[in-house]
Symmetry: C2
Subunit: 313 residues, 2 copies
């Protein structure tokens, strides 16, 4: 016997938002992973189908971010020997792009098990399980700056990933995200390995100050202050070299009116924030023209902040 | 001819508030500097009297933080050749203690000139002049984390000192500051010179996250979140050795119920934040007992956050 199943959508996210390396993430609309989960007779969790991944994702549950997240929740609930679940994962977003692909899958896995079991946990309490799944992709203990916004929506400040202590900031209304994603892959593990293990004291002070002011800007709905904070003087200079013509794309976005522009997650996608959708569109065109000039294939996405996060479709 | 004069009070401050090195400062009540300013016939600014400084502060205007701040404002207003002003500085707080003594004097100097001249500038616009005065004490371009709260009151986030971009956070009502100050002096220049010029990447992330959450806690009036953020894992471990039995005093404060406890400014004063005045008193007693045990002479201050800042008395 197998039930008709439920379908979960978990959105793509921008992690490392400018001044918020490992600390700030936000959720977008219209891009993300879908996961269909069915209850079956044979106990245990299995992944039966993966589409959109070009064969790059493992079916082995413990090596798959969606699988592991779902499995850890099932184990936590003590139902591993009792309940049978099949996952069908539909990757509907690029991966290795810096848009939180592994996090979206992990969130979808935890969410699917919780929904199939009639929500034994609150949404927020799924975080540790989604983080357990995400840790496969990062190769270390996962940071919550993709997982938390994919699950909860909005702009999230991660005070701590273990134990999770995450805070949803009041996103300034009208804020728009433009993302430009090249046909290139960067794996999070590698993008992390090129980072210097030390940060100059003065850069630490300046970047911290911008992060503090970013939080204040959201609470005060102060869009000009937000524009002054959206800088990354520590990580971006180290990773920009992995992305072709990064500075030129960034300059184009700022000249077109973006509040700020930086690397999405570990890259190579680049995001910009704008105060409204008209500017965001102009920003997208400006970024796109730059890469077109160099013949770099890419996709553009434009979206408001997704305030809902993962949902049952 | 000399006018009867005006009297300015500029409060003491706690800079480097835990997770906010060079970025967070707060203003206290009942402790600070007084400055009496009189208009006289002979043009130019002179310091005619200094009390409470045990001969340690210079009368030379350009070498005195109050003098230089006042002079720079007078020059900015184009009145240096026209107006005569005499300063009498009454130090009413310890200096070299980490309580923003030099900043309070600088603020008082700028404020006095502005008041004598019938407020040509708004209070907030005095910041650059007070910072110019403060730079004598720090030996480099000054950070605004003492000057801004002494001038404006409250809890201040400094996004940038040059140009000044400072933001007053909504202090959680009832918050109390306990300060314990030993009869020891540490000069800011020296306390800065012992700091490592590099910060480990993981510490940078953790401390930034706490700073972001500190700001969110103030806006949300979330006292338990505030308690989780009040940590300094970067600067405090390096400077604690300059302060006798620092860890023991800190432990005593936390055990007595403080939300957090760290070094005030560059030290050697230690501050604690508590959620109400009863706890703050117990915290003060606990810190005091610790130093008494070792025969370390000290003074205790307890105060709410000073929301007014510098004022004409």
């Amino acid at each position: 016997m197998s039930t008709p199943g439920i379908k979960i959508f978990a959105p793509a996210t921008v992690g490392n938002v400018a001044c918020g390396f490992d600390v700030l993430g936000l959720s977008i609309e219209g891009l993300g992973d879908e996961l269909i989960a069915r209850q079956v007779d044979e106990p245990g969790l299995r992944i039966v189908k993966i589409t959109g991944a070009k064969g790059k994702l493992p079916y082995e549950v413990e090596k798959n971010t969606a699988g592991l997240a779902g499995l850890r929740l099932l184990q936590h609930l003590g139902k591993e020997q009792e309940i049978g679940i099949e996952f069908e994962l539909r990757k509907k977003m690029p991966f290795g792009s810096g848009l939180g692909s592994s996090a979206a899958s992990a969130v979808a896995g935890a969410m699917a098990v919780n929904e199939l079991l009639k929500r034994p946990l609150e949404k927020r309490d799924l975080l540790p399980f989604a983080l357990a799944g995400e840790s496969i992709a990062t190769g270390t203990a996962a940071h919550a700056d993709n997982v938390a916004p994919s699950l909860l929506g909005g702009i999230i400040l991660v005070r701590s990933s273990n134990p999770p202590d995450v805070h949803r900031l009041p996103a300034i209304p009208g804020l728009q995200v433009t993302i430009i994603s090249p046909k290139l892959e960067i794996m999070t593990k590698e993008a992390r390995s090129i980072l210097s293990s030390q940060v100059p004291l003065s850069d630490f002070v300046q970047q911290s100050a911008n992060l503090g002011a970013f939080v204040a800007a959201m609470y005060r709905q102060d869009i000009t202050l937000l524009g002054r904070c959206l800088k990354d003087i520590i990580i971006e200079p180290q990773r920009a070299k992995l992305i072709p013509h990064f500075s030129e794309v960034q300059d184009a976005a700022l000249e077109a009116g973006a509040l700020g522009c930086s690397i999405s997650g570990a890259g190579p996608a680049i995001f910009a924030l704008s105060s409204n959708s008209l500017i965001a569109e102009a920003v997208g065109n400006a970024m796109s023209s730059t890469w077109e000039k160099y013949g770099i294939e890419h996709t553009i996405y434009q979206s408001p902040i997704n305030l809902e996060g993962a949902r049952k479709m």
